[in-house]
Amino acid sequence: MRLAGKGRNRDAEEVRFRFDGRELRGRAGEPLAAALMAQGVRVMGRSFKYHRPRGVMTAGSEEPNALVTVGRGAGREPNVRATVQEVHAGLEAFGQNAWPLVDFDVMAVNDLFAPVLGAGFYYKTFMWPRRFWEKVYEPAIRRAAGLGALSGEHNPDPYEKAFAFCDLLVIGAGPAGLMAALTAGRAGAEVILADEGVEPGGRLLSEDETVAGQPAHVWVATALAELAAMPNVRVMTRTTVTGAYDQGTYGALERVSGHLASPAPELPRECFWRISAKRAVLAAGALERPVAFAGNDRPGVMMASALRSYLHRWGVVPGRSAVVFGNNDDAQRTARDLAAAGVHVAAMVDARPDAPEVPGVPTHRGAVVTGAAGGRQGVEAVSLRLEDGREERLAADTLAVSGGWNPTVHLTCHMNGRPVWNEEIAAFVPAEGAVPGLTPAGACAGVFSTRGCLEAGARAAREALADLGRQAPAAEVPEAEDAPYRLRPLWAVEGKGRAWLDFQNDVTVKDVKLAARENYRSVEHMKRYTTQGMAPDQGKNSNVAALAVLADATGRSIPETGTTTFRPPYVPVSIAAMGAGAQGEGFAPVRHTTSHAASRARGAPMVEAGLWYRPSYFPQGDEDWEAACRREARMVRAAVGVADVSTLGKIDVQGADAARFLDFVYANTFSTLKPGRVRYGLMLREDGHVMDDGTTARFGEDHFVTTTTTAAAGEVMAHLEWVRQGLCPAWDVRLISVTEQWAQFAVAGPKSAELLDGLIDGGLDKSAWPFMSCGPVTVQGIEGRLFRISFSGEEGYEIALPARYGAALFEELATRAEALGGGPYGMEALNALRVEKGFITHAEIHGRTTAFDIGMGRMVSAKTDCIGKAAASREGLSGPEREQLVGFRPVEEGAAMSAGAHVFAEGAEAVRENDQGYVTSVAPSVAFGGWLALGFLRDGRARHGETVVLVDHLRGTRVRATVQEPVQFDPEGGRLRG
């Protein structure tokens, strides 16, 4: 209910929203949990396993119970904490893990089976029959137990990722964080102050206390005004720093538009930040921890500090009559503040025999709460055991609990740091230097007074700046609350009934004791056996208490028992935010050639080649790919075809040692190549296997242009740079990629010279351009290059002009080819032509083949050293046991073969032991009709003419084929020499 005149959001606009279909009213900007509390909604969620009704427990992102689904349709978001989601006009939220509604959930029948659903129940109960696991047990368990569900549709909401840089990142804007930011900001440092909350201030916004003689929130406002006026300070709200990574990199999730009623369309829902900070101050505060007792999960049982947040910030309380249960002075604040706000406080139950008295509230010292009793809507009565052993029962609908505070050490554990047990506060604190460059300050380092936090923040910032060689003036730390933190450790109260530790995964004290009894004594084993700490809250509310119970059950101390590892992210991060921009077309860069638009205009379907898109074929009429491929291949064999080959990598190699360098990186020799000539080159990896191949043209004594395959262009460039810098640093050689600078087209076929004769300035004198020649030409006065090379087996040329003329050149070439009875051809025809000629691609040089395998063993230089030479000479990389490149032709005319089929001897069973090789490339053949293939066959070169069987188990085909010479068409090469 809402308390008149209370809450700092008194003047907020009233808006309508819906929860589980009911229309409700709330104040814009308050957490959904506060708005629901104001309306008297107590049940906000259902528990994971037992479907027990649950109410809100905390006021922060650690909330284990009040998880809701926000929105409907494709972009609906499950597992949103009602403590984080802000109310706006039109907000729609739904309870989860319940049917039909959280308020009335049929699945709650699970709770009746609780005696058999304890820790590890699925290991014991559903052992057999084994085949029931996948089909029956798992789906049934998954349906009954769980959290919210995604829509299963494509997420239409925009997300972003971004980078930021600073001298000092301050994580958390409570008293320590604000002082750190002020100190560093005043010293002129670049500061990012990131805070998870809607407004900075941390606990200062939730407490009734003073700083510098004024109400704490007023001091916060003054500090924020000062920070806002500093151009070197950036304050990021709704931003949770989720992880600490190497070299001062931090991940952060910013909730950008989920709180807006009608966000501008360009606003992302969330933004994932990578912040690079020279230094960081962790001022993440602390999380209050519960005490386990029977029924401590009932709606109405809440953290004592959370109650103060709801009261002071949003002016709401969960009930009319409260009991406060604690073991430290801080808990007493809740009794004091509730009483001052006019809420009936039936008792302050303090576990400490020496606890002070709360004025005006019946205070039971040395007493504990043994149980919270009630119905479906939550707590109705609280049972106590007094110091003298008497039991008492009080009527109350609200039970505030405090077991003390756990410093938020999570980020200090992200780089393998193990927190250290501090006996004085009975809690873990960060290990010294756990994350290089990050200093924990304030409550996250175990300092719990406001004054102590303010001082720690200022000091941490000064030290961080001193590290960076900057002087920060000593800040004046304002006067503030500076009470000692007095606590008597209390984790669980013995009693009948289930006492919850992990609310989100339904793990009880009994479950942890059972794990210990069954010898899961290691904290890591206990965690996995009980699932404690494995829910979305990652054990923020339960880890330390579960550890304490385990320590007790195994007769060890807490530090002996250890802790589990906190890993990033600190709060759940949607995959959509982390992978922002990488969906659909953003998945990989797209590279288009200069002929792309013209190819699309001619109806060509495009196929990916590395990052490039190349035309598959240029269909005429209703041709399918095969018909188009055969027509285009015939066209090249009979007339002339034009294909864009610009995607091949082009590397300009220059310098006095350029030739020597190429001799070293290629298996064969280039220093003997004459200027004006082109040579095929085979490149090996240092392990003796083939890396890539291509042609290299020599334009001058010190100038080569070498080409790579399309897909390997980047890899080859990196490799050549490695060899140049790492293996021959003293040589005079320079490399630069010119792939995108030149548009290059293959012109192939018996009429190719005729076409070029009309295009090149001054015509083409064929006698001056023998096979494997190269040189400069001009086209309409534009300087370009011509290469007499062929990948089709026909007389062929490649003409290159600067890329800006590529589109025009393609049109010109295609039009001229069409006039000669030819036209453009695509990748399918290019492939069909090269398979007939036995030319290899990466289908053949796939990383496991050697020069010997492809019949080029003798190309490896005998005279000079080259990359891969030593390793290629190894035993086993050559010889008859190797699978060698061969051609295949089906015995039965027209039978379709398939790439990926394996080769078996006739009569042999098609099993792995009899495997003799495999098919790598298959294409239609215009020279022979039907289909041709390339592949590898054991001792293949000695087996030409033999009949084998190609078996494709995947496609269920079986084809008899004869083994051929890889070069099946025009083996003498008369056509390409023209």
């Binding site: 190497d246 780089m415 490695w722």
Partner: protein
């Protein structure tokens, strides 16, 4: 993760690509297969502690780098140009 390229300054890990141990700098001078070649190609230490790796500032200046770092703490203690490291060994 961030690396300080000697030519470009400190940059995000995404600009770099990784090759492997800096052993690759010590290429044997012989052309015949040997135990030395076997070590060079295949045998790698897997230290819990200091390691020297080769990285390329691929999305930057293209320089190959020798990065000395600690596999336990992830601290990067030195980044040098592979060219300088290779010259220091008296490579060709």
């Amino acid at each position: 993760m961030r690396l300080r390229c000697p030519l470009c300054g400190e940059r995000d890990r995404r600009e770099f690509s990784y090759k492997g141990a800096a052993v690759a700098l010590d290429r044997p001078a012989t052309e015949d297969w040997s135990a030395e070649w076997d070590d060079y190609l295949h045998n790698r230490a897997n230290p819990a502690g200091e390691t020297r790796d080769l990285w390329q500032h691929a999305a930057g200046c293209g320089a190959w780098l020798v990065v000395t770092r600690d596999t336990v703490t992830h601290a990067v203690t030195e980044v040098a140009l592979a060219r300088d490291a290779a010259r220091g060994k008296g490579a060709a």
